[in-house]
Point group: C2
Chain length 233, copies 2
């Protein structure tokens, strides 16, 4: 028996992937356990574990103690989006980045914002509106509320030369957040700022971030027409 040797977790992973794709191991099917595989592949169990763990994270395998490892029936593909600082995103495309602060006020947020940030009525928040430009053309309109009760030193930030987007990334670590992507027609103000027709389709990114103190910030990024978010699988 000429057993091919699988020394690295990558080679084991490739082989397992091959068996899944070739239907040698069919969707829903139980595959041999780690001990058996390590024997067959001629490597340590830890190596098999490393390989299978990766495939489980990718959603191709279902692993459960005692129940064993199965090929996922309907693999849920995962796409990873990089969320860079806007300035970097623009500069990495070779475009000239410019930033312009439109307004910076301290005021009580409207109910919908309060709801998003899970705050009671009353306290004022920092409201910042700014425009990110690429090659002198409007790129992204940033409309942000910052909870300066959680981010105390935010009150001192002027945001005249650095965008809240970048300032927060650099200065405020966060523990979690959520992102939503939608398409909406530009309202009058957005149309004016982004230099497009009212009602024109805009790509909108909404993001909340929080740490253990509470919600840090909620932001709505309205991207100029033609904006395209892409990634590999």
């Amino acid at each position: 028996m000429t057993t091919t040797e699988f020394n690295t977790w990558q080679s084991v992973q490739e082989e397992v992937l091959r068996r899944i794709n070739s239907r040698e191991w069919k969707p829903g099917e139980l595959i041999p356990n780690e001990a058996e595989l390590s024997l067959e592949f001629g490597c340590a169990r830890a190596t098999v574990n490393r390989a299978l763990r990766g495939l489980a994270e990718a959603g191709l395998l279902d692993r459960r103690r005692k129940a064993g490892t199965r090929v996922t029936l309907h693999p849920i593909r995962k796409a990873t989006l990089d969320i860079p600082i806007i300035r970097h995103e623009v500069e990495n495309r070779g475009q000239a980045y410019r930033y312009s602060l439109l307004s910076r006020t301290l005021r009580e947020p409207p109910p919908d914002i309060r709801a998003k940030m899970q705050l009671p009525a009353g306290p004022k928040l920092l409201h910042v509106q700014a425009l990110h430009m690429a090659d002198a053309k409007p790129h992204i309109f940033e409309d942000r509320w910052i909870n300066q009760h959680v981010v105390k030193h935010a009150s001192n930030a002027e945001f005249s030369t650095i965008s809240p987007n970048e300032w927060l990334v650099i200065n405020v670590p966060f523990h979690g957040g959520d992102i939503a992507f939608t398409a909406v027609g530009a309202n009058a103000r957005e149309a004016e700022i982004l230099n497009c027709r009212a009602g024109e389709a805009l790509f909108v990114i909404e993001r909340n971030t929080w740490n253990d103190q509470g919600v840090i910030s909620t932001v709505r990024l309205a991207c100029a027409p033609g904006y395209r978010l892409h990634t590999g699988i």
Copy 2:
């Protein structure tokens, strides 16, 4: 010296995360190497490695052989999107899923599709248009080209009861792909099919998938107004 013990990679990771967030280890700064940390934490180096690897994958640490491990200067946040089968997405929201095949033809693709699929002029492809509905309302308009020279058995699929979306996920393993998200105004046909006004903002997902044989399929998913894609960070 009352050294707290860190037995698990998770606890090590938490502690490292704490030091990063508290600026005990500042952005751009070199942190102790694995051997030193394993000594300090009273665990094996492999445990430290496991913890740091995770943080590196999350984009919080930069690790390079010989150069050591540094706290990332501008952490690039990564959002992971789950790309489920449309039917599952609808059903998981508790809505009734319905599917309707609009057209299925074999014809030569227009130049822009050919370009996307990196195909020469000449060969015909399978063109399928279908509508996914949620609670009897139009949900997603699927406009797909399938390369039946790569996916040979696709010629036999009727797509009358199962969508190409689902059929492909189940029947054709792929090695790679790319996704793009945009916002566009609905054209006349999309408006009619999705039951909305022409020009109304639609969330559009474009996806290509390929395997080692070549491009499998390219699809444009036009989502009904109000569609929202969201995820955690």
